[in-house]
Structure formats: C-alpha cells, structure tokens
C-alpha cells in the first residue's frame, strides 16, 4: 500500500502522525534514561 502525497495537508498529516508517536516514545525513554543516569547518585546519599 503505497501512495504518493499530493497535498501539503496530507504531507503534514503523515509527518505529524509519526511525530506524535515519537513524542510519546521520547517522553517514556527520557524518563528511564534520566533514572539510569542518576540512580547511583541517590545511592551515595
């Protein structure tokens, strides 16, 4: 299923759909990464 994009609206819809998925993934990922980065600091204390 492959189709060419004809309108700006369609193009933006396509990119925004992917962007929103990335946003959700990024928020979850950064949370765990921050935890990974700092958890040893907490142990020190």
């Amino acid at each position: 299923m492959e189709s060419t994009i004809h309108t700006l609206q369609e193009y933006m819809l396509h990119t925004e759909n992917i962007t929103y998925l990335l946003i959700v993934a990024a928020l979850i990922a950064i949370t765990f990464f921050y935890r990974f980065l700092t958890e040893k600091d907490d142990d020190e204390k």
Partner: protein, 390 residues
C-alpha cells in the same frame, strides 16, 4: 468563611451560600436548556462567530489563570526555591480546579460533547493545533489530579499511596511544565490559521510565544491573588509556616512577574515591528491595543517593581489583581474582540446572558469546590503526620 457556620451547626444562610445557591440553581436551569434545546437556545453564537465566551473566557482565560500550578511547582521542585513550598499546594489546587472547570465548560461548548474522546480513539487529526491542546489538557488535568492527590490521601489517611505519589514529584513536575508549555502556547497558536480574521496588531507568528509567556505572568499573579483572598477567608486554616512564607511568596513572585512582564512587553513590541503594524496604532483598534500594552502590561510591570523595591505588599497584591484582569483582557481580545474585526457591527458577537450565566456558574462551582477542599484537606497547612518538605 461560612464553613464555620456549617461545622458549628449555625445557620447555613450566609451571604456566600445564598448567592452561590442562586447561581447554582440558575446554572442548572441553563444546563438543562443547553442540552435539551441546543446551543442556539442559550447562546448568541452564529455562523460568523462560532466561538463565544465559553471559548474566549472559559477556555482561554481559564487555562491561563490556572497556570499557577506549573509555575509554582517548577519554582519549588525544579528551581529549588524551597522557601515557596507552602504556596505549592494552593497553586496546584487552583490549577486543578481551573482545568476541571475548563473541561466541563468544553462539554457545554462543543456540539456533541460525548464525542470528546474521538480525537484520540477514533480518528486523529494531528495537523490540528486543537488536537495538541486537547491531548495536553487531558494529560495535564490528570497530572494535576495526581499532584493534588497527596492532600486528599493525607486527609483520608492513606499513607502508603500518598508516599508513592510524593516520590513521583519530580517526574510529575517536569511533565507538568512540558505539557503546560505546549498547550498554553498552542492556545495562542489556534489563531495562527486565521490571519485574515484576527486584527494584525494581535495576530503574530509569535502568538504561541505570547500565550506561553503571559501564562507565566498569569500563574505568578494568580498565586499572589489567590493567597491574598485565602488569607482573608481561610486564615484559620493556615499554619505558621504558611503564614510566615506568605509575604515571602508575594515578594518573590511579584519580582518574577515584573521581570516576565518586562520581557513580554519587549517581545510584544517586537511583534508589532515585525508585522509592520506601527501605522495601525493610530486607529481605534490601535488605541485599544495601546491600552492593553500600557495599562495591563507596562503599568503592572512598573507597579510590581516598585512594590518589590519598597517591600510594599499591599501594592503587590493590588497589582496582582490588576495583572489578572489584564490577562483576561488579552485573552478576550485575541479570542473575541479583535477576532472578526472586519465584520460589520451587526454581525459581531456579544454573549447571551445565559452564556455569561454558565461561565459564572462554573466559576462559582469552582469556588465552592475550593472552599470544600481547603476547609478539609491539608492545603494551607502541613498535615501533622507528614513531613511536608519531602
């Protein structure tokens, strides 16, 4: 105030209760009208003016004035200003109730409110700024609810659940700031699509930036304003720490508000320049724009600065109220007054009394909920069983 009456079994017929009761009855009456006869029966909305005060006031102003939650929690938990800790819970509560009111108001405004989850579960219109606003408001309402819940859990004595949520404070605060940045700015960005309808002095590619920056001003001012009112009516609910930090909060937040107002004034000015709107300042809309800029941005900026320099708490408090009014003026300008400015006056919008009635009703319900909560839960005092600084 009148809660004393309720708890001591005295008459419930205090002025607040009587007025609130009348407003609630009126609100319920209009609610029935709205949902049985449709929008046309209770609003002055038209094909030219699809958005009235339920969007212009309830949504735009409501969200801006509920910004105190993210501003205060960010100041305390991220920027490490622990001396403002006692301001966090009242600000979170105000924010939570504000957003709750916004969501309820949207149920009145949209044509088929039972479909409000459709953008998420049926078909995603991701190119719409409104999709982003809807997603962020829904998520942020949840975040605010969780942030508020420790107070309720302490009240209910659910220690373990409370401690789990307290451990999430940093995560919730950062999420709150991210979500607030996004939807506060996107509310301004909603109008980017209509350069032909919004007056060029208010239309600017910077609209999202303006809305975000002014939401910080709104949040800071609302914290001071709310604290002033709370001190008057709920003084007996405040503990020593709260009372001691109160003035510190007013001074610190007033100082921050003065600085942000100064920045806001500068970027607004740059917006006029970038839009080459200088000549429009000489028109009647220009006069109104100048009044907003000088009377509701420059003036409070200066008054806050004087108040902070002279440690004049009274001036700071009055300035906070004035700034809140300025935010209302700004949001109504963008949403209603400068919108559709080119239409003949016969086609312009003025709210139906029942639209105003619903807005007043929702604010009243918010106040009643606020009073119910602060007179029962540890909002303005630390619960004796818990170390509130954690």
């Amino acid at each position: 105030m009148s809660d004393e009456a309720a708890t001591t079994g005295k008459s419930l017929l205090t002025p607040f209760n009587v007025i609130a009761g009348i407003i609630v009855i009126m609100g319920l009456f209009i609610t029935v009208m709205r949902f049985t006869r449709g929008l046309g029966a209770v609003t002055n909305l038209s094909d030219y003016n699809p958005w009235g005060i339920w969007i212009g006031f309830d949504l735009l102003v409501g969200v801006a004035l509920a910004a105190g939650g993210f501003v205060t929690s960010a100041a305390v938990y991220i920027f490490g200003m622990k001396k403002y800790h006692s301001a966090v819970r009242p600000a979170i509560l105000t924010g939570f109730l504000g957003y709750a009111m916004v969501v309820v108001a949207l149920n009145y405004d949209v044509g088929r409110p039972w479909r409000l989850p459709f953008p998420f579960i049926v078909q995603q219109g991701t190119t719409s700024l409104l999709f982003e606003v809807a997603a962020c408001v829904a998520l942020y309402l949840t975040v605010l609810f969780v942030e508020f819940s420790p107070a309720a859990l302490e009240w209910l004595g659910l220690k373990r659940a409370r401690n789990i949520i307290i451990r999430l404070t940093l995560l919730l605060t950062i999420f709150g700031v991210v979500l607030s940045t996004l939807h506060q700015s996107s509310l301004g960005a909603l109008f980017l699509i209509a350069p032909s309808k919004l007056h060029p002095l208010w239309y600017s590619p910077y609209l999202p930036v303006y809305f975000f920056v002014s939401s910080i001003i709104a949040g800071l001012s609302m914290v001071i304003f709310e604290s002033t009112l709370s001190h008057r009516y709920f003084k007996d609910k405040m503990d020593a720490a709260h009372l001691a930090e109160k003035d510190e909060v007013a001074l610190g937040f007033g100082k921050a508000a003065a600085l942000v107002l100064a920045g806001y004034f500068i970027v607004k000015l740059i917006g006029v320049s970038q839009g080459n709107g200088w000549h429009l300042l000489a028109t009647s809309y220009g006069a109104w724009f100048l009044l907003e800029m000088l009377g509701f941005v420059a003036l409070p900026c200066f008054l806050y600065a004087v108040g902070v320099r002279e440690k004049n708490l009274k001036l700071i408090k009055w300035t906070a109220a004035w700034t809140v009014l300025g935010i209302i003026v700004n949001r109504l300008n963008v949403g209603l007054i400068a919108f559709n400015w080119q239409l003949p006056s016969a086609e312009r919008y003025f709210p139906h009394w029942m639209e105003i009635g619903i807005s007043v009703f929702l604010v009243t319900v918010g106040l009643i909920a606020f009073r119910f909560i602060v007179t029962r839960m540890p909002i303005m005092y630390a619960h004796k069983d818990y170390d509130e600084t954690t």
